[in-house]
């Protein structure tokens, strides 16, 4: 039977399947066994309590949903006292996602969350509906470098940086995050989107813009993962449109060490564990002994066109 375990830096995971931040909570234990997951990824937490964005927070489009939630939460104190213990009832590593509009507060959050029980700090520097200096630092290399450096200095925990697919050149941003001390790159957040209702000419979402979540993102994010993995030496986690085991395989072939799953868990609450079962069977059918054999195993050495350079230079 295949060994599904993967390591993200020093973090050991039983398999490469994790939920994506914001699309998961311990409440999924009503339906699936959370101990089977590669990691537990909490919803992004901010320092102060936040109500989040006005409703409607979701709208369907022809090719997926757009959503704008606005990072609601009860703040860091409540999170440490009440939510961390909920996750610690389960065994997989706990990845805590944090966000802030300021570099200083971001660092403060990471420091205050560097407590026993928290295994990884994931900095959500790419909330799509915030502006470049207001929490969406990952739109530009210099902002990415500045904020990740500050967070790095504030914590000894493994630090993962979640990047934005909305940036023009994600490779340079990924390199900036690596240089600033990130231990892993999570690619990517959602795509900034808009839907307008034709019955009343109003934006469909209460916050006007939202992030697109869809299987349609997979080929685009897969391309980003491929480009980034070629250029950095830290692990990459791919998030975007994973709905089945073959999608996990594709991301790993492109260079990802693990994947995050959002939408598929909305659609099929048992999707995460089903995908783990499928991945195991897929590997066993092919005699693959260790799932890590798949990482970066894309066969493209004989292909002439250097698409990496082409895409990076905006061709």
């Amino acid at each position: 039977m295949v060994d599904l375990s993967v390591k993200i830096g020093d973090v050991e995971m039983a398999n490469p399947v994790t939920p994506a931040s914001g699309a998961f909570s311990w409440e999924y234990a009503d339906v699936i066994d959370l101990n089977r997951l590669g990691g537990l990824v909490a919803k992004t937490i901010c320092k102060e309590p936040r109500l989040g964005n006005p409703t409607p927070r979701m709208a369907e489009t022809e090719a997926g949903i757009i959503q704008s939630i606005g990072l609601p939460g009860k703040g860091i104190e409540y999170f440490i006292d009440h939510i961390v213990p909920e996750y610690k009832k389960f065994t997989p590593p706990l990845i805590v996602s944090v966000s802030s509009e300021s570099t200083e507060e971001f660092a403060e959050l990471a420091r205050d969350l560097s407590i026993p029980g928290v295994d990884v700090i994931e900095c959500n520097i790419s909330c799509p509906t915030r502006n470049t200096t207001g929490g969406n630092f990952a739109m530009q290399s210099e902002h990415t470098k500045e904020v990740v450096s500050a967070i790095r200095a504030a914590t000894d925990k493994p630090l993962w940086a979640k990047l934005s697919p909305n940036a023009g050149d994600i490779v340079s941003i990924a390199m900036a995050a690596e240089e600033a001390g990130a231990d892993c790159l999570v690619i990517a957040n959602t795509f900034l989107s808009l839907k307008i209702r034709t019955d009343n000419f109003r934006p469909a979402l209460g916050n006007k813009f939202g992030g697109l979540v869809s299987p349609a993102l997979k080929p685009i994010v897969l391309r980003m993962v491929y480009q980034v993995a070629k250029q950095v030496s830290i692990p990459v986690i791919g998030i975007g449109g994973v709905t089945k085991a073959e999608d996990v395989v594709e991301y790993m072939l492109a260079g990802a060490s693990a994947v995050g799953i959002g939408y598929a868990g909305f659609r099929n609450p048992t999707a995460l564990t089903a995908i783990i079962d499928d991945l195991e069977a897929w590997c066993d059918d092919r005699g693959i002994k260790k799932v890590t054999e798949l990482i970066g195993a894309i066969k493209d050495d004989d292909m002439e066109m250097d698409t990496l350079t082409a895409a990076s230079s905006g061709v």
Binding site: Y28, M58, I65, I69, P72, N268, P269
Partner: protein
């Protein structure tokens, strides 16, 4: 692409009819059910009957299932649709949903035929609660909201609680669930827009009389903002507790995504609650309408 999980070559995560329950400790699940029937009950509503695995039958009145509806038009229906359960028949192993064919999800659902498989997740949320001290309750619903309230009559009958049901609709033909309330021994008062008997003034007079006659230990409502406002006002004035089942656009159904929030007012403070997790049944006095 309708159902990633059940379409998978390997995965066996959703539970199926006739197979052993592989997740007996979980309060909810993802189930592949068999469609038994899906008939029109009038020009707008259909009744879907499903054969389900036993764990799905643990649903309580007011809880909902999250339904993976087929496409009505070839384009994907991306998200599940939350729908409260209409009837739970544990002996037969059946669940029923009464629904209005209105949006893309329910239009797709209308295409289901006997023998089809249908993926449902649940039961989710907090259902109706009956306090043992209540002997007489008043159920006031309108339109498709009556489908949500119908299993409450079943629960009340099982607990020896008397029900007065005020059923409101646009016209007499569209009064839903009357048979079910009749069958369960409720006193039924049907009102409609055609003869103006559904006007708030008239419904208010009916409720006032029930309160005066000691027939209203608690209020229950679903399906109309103005009827909710009425029950909130009268409940507050006369000290009658009440519960309302509410709706919202929803994604995960489990409390993770915070898409289905609504505003409530508790001790003078405005707060947001998730319809899927803290609801869909809420205290009438804490609502702020919609």
């Amino acid at each position: 692409m309708t159902d990633f999980v059940s379409a998978s070559k390997y995965a066996a995560s959703p539970d199926r009819v006739g197979e052993p329950d592989r997740h007996p400790d979980r309060p909810a699940g993802e189930f592949i059910c068999n469609v038994l029937s899906n008939e029109w009950v009038n020009g707008e509503y259909k009744l879907l009957a499903l054969e389900t695995p036993p764990r799905a039958l643990n649903a309580r009145a007011g809880q909902f299932f999250h339904l993976l509806c087929p496409t009505p038009d070839g384009a994907e229906v991306w998200m599940r649709r939350p729908m409260s359960v209409y009837r739970i028949d544990k002996d037969a192993g059946h669940l029923q949903f009464l629904y209005k064919c209105e949006g893309r999800g329910t239009q797709g659902m209308a295409l289901l035929e006997p023998g089809d498989e249908f993926n449902i997740a649940g039961p989710f949320g907090i259902g109706f609660h009956l306090d043992p001290a209540w002997k007489n309750i008043v159920v006031l619903g309108r339109g498709v909201g009556l489908a949500t309230l119908a299993p409450l009559a079943q629960m009340a009958a099982e607990n020896g609680v008397h029900v007065t049901a005020i059923l409101s609709a646009r016209s007499a033909e569209l009064v839903m669930s009357r048979d079910m309330f009749d069958e369960l021994g409720a006193d039924v008062i049907a009102v409609n827009d055609t003869d103006h008997s559904s006007d708030v003034d008239n419904v208010e007079a009916i409720l006032e009389k029930l309160i005066a006659d000691g027939r209203a230990d608690a209020f229950f409502t679903c399906g109309s903002n103005r009827l909710l406002d009425l029950m909130k006002r009268l409940g507050k004035a006369h000290g009658v507790p009440g519960q309302v089942a509410m709706e919202q656009i929803m994604a995960c159904g489990l409390g993770a995504c915070y898409i289905c929030v609504r505003t409530f007012e508790v001790n003078g403070e405005k707060i947001l609650r998730r319809v899927c997790r803290e609801g869909p049944v809420f205290d009438i006095q804490e609502t702020v309408g919609w």
